[in-house]
Subunit: 360 residues, 2 copies
């Protein structure tokens, strides 16, 4: 087991990474301050891992809420089911919410914890690779709105994260690839050595080798933690973590939430960012080729869905959160390991990039 600490002053917390962590009472209990604990999970995860998680929480007033599985349920109605459960069981402000599941469960349970009685304690047990490397660090929580993704939410830090690599055994290949997309992202934005390590070890990762996974998860969390610690509220360099996301959100919204996985959309989005950067003259063709190769080896799509026109794509990008008063700003690359936020790109080159990237 590896343990990292996300340093945020009085809200610092540990991330434990390794096999067999689910239900480790010695890791969970120091993060719980009251008697009431609510596990929030979904219909897919509950039969697989709920019993093990409950075993680590015996002795508490333990309740469970089991939500339907899927990005389409990441909304205010599902959030309200968590509030209902908390209030029906008369949970007080010293209660703890435990998110057992992927990113959707973490975002829902995290926002419920941020807003129930104006904020209660929160533990994350992410069960997907994506959630282990993304949602574990940064404190972002929230739900979608019909007019935009993650439009309603809060920053709320967990007290502790357990990333149990055993839970990755039941992930399907698409979900694994989606997590690998975020892992590749950390290499691309700020860690060229890690990118080179990924080029060497991608086959071990897709074969779910435990040691390789622990290394990649820890290195990803460490990269994210460094960025977040420097910029908790996302004004400056934290925006670099959105590499691929403005493009990716357009795909997710255009295709309907849940059709593409978030990580798949971000993977293609990162390649689009690389291709636009190359057209700007900031990246050379060999670097774009290395990025596309690594994404392909990870099992990720690299083309815009045929159903989406360039015009629709551009329109969807404009509603993304990263649109400031000053116009559309994108995370682009000036090299592998060197991302920048920039509004200083040629809109014609953006259009040309999208035109060229269509599938089929």
């Amino acid at each position: 087991m590896k343990t990292l600490y996300v340093e945020l002053g009085e809200r610092s917390y540990p991330i434990h990474i390794g096999p067999g962590l689910l239900g480790r009472a010695d890791l969970l209990q120091p993060a719980i301050h009251g008697r009431q604990v609510m596990i929030v999970t979904n219909e897919t995860i509950a039969p697989l891992y709920l019993a093990a998680a409950q075993a680590g929480l015996s002795g508490y007033d333990l309740q469970t809420v089991i939500l339907p599985d899927g990005e389409q349920y990441k909304n205010l109605d599902t959030l309200n089911r968590i509030y209902d459960a908390l209030l029906e069981h008369r949970f007080n402000r010293k209660c703890t919410l435990v998110a057992l599941g992927g990113g959707v469960i973490g975002d829902l349970a995290g926002f419920a914890a941020a807003s129930y009685q104006r904020g209660v304690d929160f533990i994350q047990i992410p069960t997907t690779l994506l959630a282990q490397v993304d949602s574990s660090v940064g404190g972002k929580t929230g739900v979608n709105h019909p007019l935009g993704k993650n439009m309603i939410g809060a920053f709320h830090q967990p007290n502790c994260v357990l990333a149990d690599t055993d839970t990755l055994a039941t992930l399907d290949d698409r979900q694994l690839a989606a997590g690998l997309a975020e892992i590749i992202k950390y290499g691309l934005i700020r860690d060229a050595d890690f990118f080179a390590w990924l080029e060497k070890n991608m086959d071990l990762l897709t074969a779910r080798d435990t040691d390789a996974l622990i290394f990649a998860i820890a290195r990803s969390c460490l990269n994210k933690a460094e960025v977040v610690a420097a910029d908790e509220r996302e004004s400056g360099q934290r925006a670099l973590l959105n590499l691929g996301h403005t493009f990716g959100h357009a795909i997710e919204t255009g295709m309907g939430y849940g059709t593409w996985l978030h990580g798949e959309a971000v993977g293609t989005g990162m390649l689009l960012a690389a291709q636009l950067s190359a057209r700007q003259g900031w990246l050379d063709a060999g670097e774009v080729e290395r990025i596309e190769q690594l994404l392909t080896r990870a099992g990720l799509p690299t083309r815009i869905p045929g159903e989406m026109s360039t015009r629709q794509f551009l329109d969807l990008m404009a509603v993304d959160k990263k649109v400031m008063d000053s116009g559309l700003r994108l995370v682009l690359l000036k090299g592998i390991g060197a991302a920048v936020v920039s509004g200083d790109f040629d809109p014609d080159l953006l259009r040309a990039t999208l035109d060229a990237a269509h599938a089929g």
Copy 2:
């Protein structure tokens, strides 16, 4: 005009108090950082004050959302109408929400600001006396749930508060009295001199004398600001601000939200706290008498509604947020100007207090 500053480090902000402040561009504009401004108000306030507020915001991309008036609309559905409006107008994270109205509007718009895109800027223009002395300071925002009041929310500080005493001219007498209840509360919990000032000047306040109102609003905000600055997240002495609230919430919930005004319920709740304190031997009969007199002169009810049994009352108190693992704790009085949080009271005396306090 008086200006106070609520000192909260980088989130410090001014409260301007006086006549003719509505629409003062020189006060509003320093608190706005983007181009997009959304005024959130209700159907009662809009015809009275919306035009004046808009006049101070010319030059911005200004939108307005007008909600129905009443505590019964302080819920997730109404909150969602604000999100809808923000997204339909493509408001970005640099936008500012302006709450123009009483406490319900402030709580709704404040929580929308806290949660829209994980937090945007927020200005309060409270138009009731209660909101001017209560919601202006402390950063509490949120909505009700069918199973409890203010159960969903966040701490979110405004950038600026304009308390325009001219808006109090259109308040009905019940609303004015509700605000006076909170003003009396500051005297009771920590400011015996202010309580004595209120005994001398209550007739000027009920006659809506501008100078008396400015003094009372400023002194109340100052008291609250001192408490909040010392304890932003409500762990210690901030709990004293809940004097009368556990009793009051029971009345509000038992009678149905909106039947009693919040301030009316808190007024009666403070008297119940004083009566229980007297039964404990902590307060003498003369002090209870002074409190009841002042509440009566302010135009406030001092009896539990006849419809509510003592058993129902006790049951509703138990679901209140102030119930910790350790059992029910109440804010009680050890003198005028000397409140304490205590779980150390005799439940039989609580029952006797409630039995004796019924109307009719």
